[in-house]
């Protein structure tokens, strides 16, 4: 029951990510990868600052009191944004999305397997290995779809 209410919301949450990649890629193709990524982060910071200011409940710790290494996630976020803005105009939204997701899932399986970042170890079992193979297969299929399209446009 709850799920029927929540699931459309989750789909929307995923859909805005795909839309964001697409919009940013388009903007990047026009004004440059760096400028597009910069604008996304600055606007994102403005919006989340407003959200924090008005809606964040009080916590005992603040961003200024936690250990600094916990704040390094942004480095990965920046690389991701640059990669997406670069890739979307070249390979399309779906190919870029599937590549990112495959990377995320494969890495999270590795993190579990080795227990990195203070996580509990959750070893790779056959079904998780199969999942990695399937993800690689999916990415390859999207590549094939793109390659066929390029051949068609070349011969047309």
């Amino acid at each position: 029951m709850m799920l029927t209410l929540v699931f459309p919301l989750l789909l929307l949450g995923g859909a805005v990510l795909a839309a964001q990649s697409s919009v940013n890629g388009r903007l990047g193709a026009k004004v440059g990868v760096l400028a597009s990524a910069w604008l996304t982060f600055v606007i994102g910071a403005v919006v989340t600052f407003l959200l924090v200011f008005f809606f964040e409940p009080a916590h005992s710790a603040t961003l200024f009191s936690v250990p600094k290494w916990q704040l390094t996630g942004a480095l990965f976020g920046v690389v991701y944004m640059l990669a997406i803005v670069f890739a979307v105009p070249r390979v399309g939204t779906a190919a870029a999305t599937v590549a990112v997701i495959s990377g995320q899932l494969i890495m999270s399986l590795l993190v579990d397997h080795f227990g990195w970042l203070d996580n509990d170890r959750l070893p790779l079992d056959p079904s998780r290995l199969a999942a990695i193979v399937l993800l690689a297969g999916a990415l390859f299929l999207i590549y094939l779809s793109n390659a066929r399209r390029e051949r068609q446009t070349a011969s047309a």
């Binding site: 839309a19 942004a74 399309g92 590549a99 990112v100 999942a131």
Partner: protein, 143 residues
């Protein structure tokens, strides 16, 4: 060939994103999820601002000559974060991830198929449908 290199690059960026999520989860527990997200956008935005000053070659004015909807990418990320913070306590992390990924992949195929949001058209074909099936199968195996 260039396509494969681009895809591998994006795949590595995706791996980094998992590390980011691994850092962000515990941070959010301590300072709040909105604040944790703010740290990402703020630090990232400041670093990119420095990069713009030193290595950007912006006629920055071209940015604001674009149609305004092209500049809204930054508004969409926070929507995702709000959805995440609302739903995770209700249905759990696993279900949240599966739902988000379904929406993300589905929307990306639709955007390509119709050439929405100014992107090039890349129609849904047999390869893409099969890829979608493999991803669902992989998600089912993982969660």
């Amino acid at each position: 060939m260039q396509q494969i290199a681009t895809l591998l690059f994006v795949l590595c960026a995706g791996m980094g994103l998992s590390v980011e999520a691994g850092l962000l989860g515990p941070l959010g527990e301590q300072v709040g999820h909105l604040s944790a997200t703010l740290s990402i956008f703020l630090v990232g935005g400041l670093l990119l601002t420095l990069a713009m000053v030193f290595i950007g070659r912006p006629p920055l004015t071209t940015l604001f000559q674009q149609p305004r909807w092209l500049l809204t990418g930054g508004l969409l990320g926070p929507i995702y974060v709000v959805v995440l913070t609302l739903t995770t306590p209700i249905v759990g992390v696993g279900m949240t991830m599966v739902g988000i990924l379904c929406g993300q992949i589905g929307a990306s195929l639709i955007i390509d198929h119709f050439g929405l949001l100014g992107s090039e058209r890349r129609a849904i074909d047999g390869y893409r449908l099969l890829a979608l099936a493999l991803i669902f199968l992989a998600l089912w195996l993982i969660y």
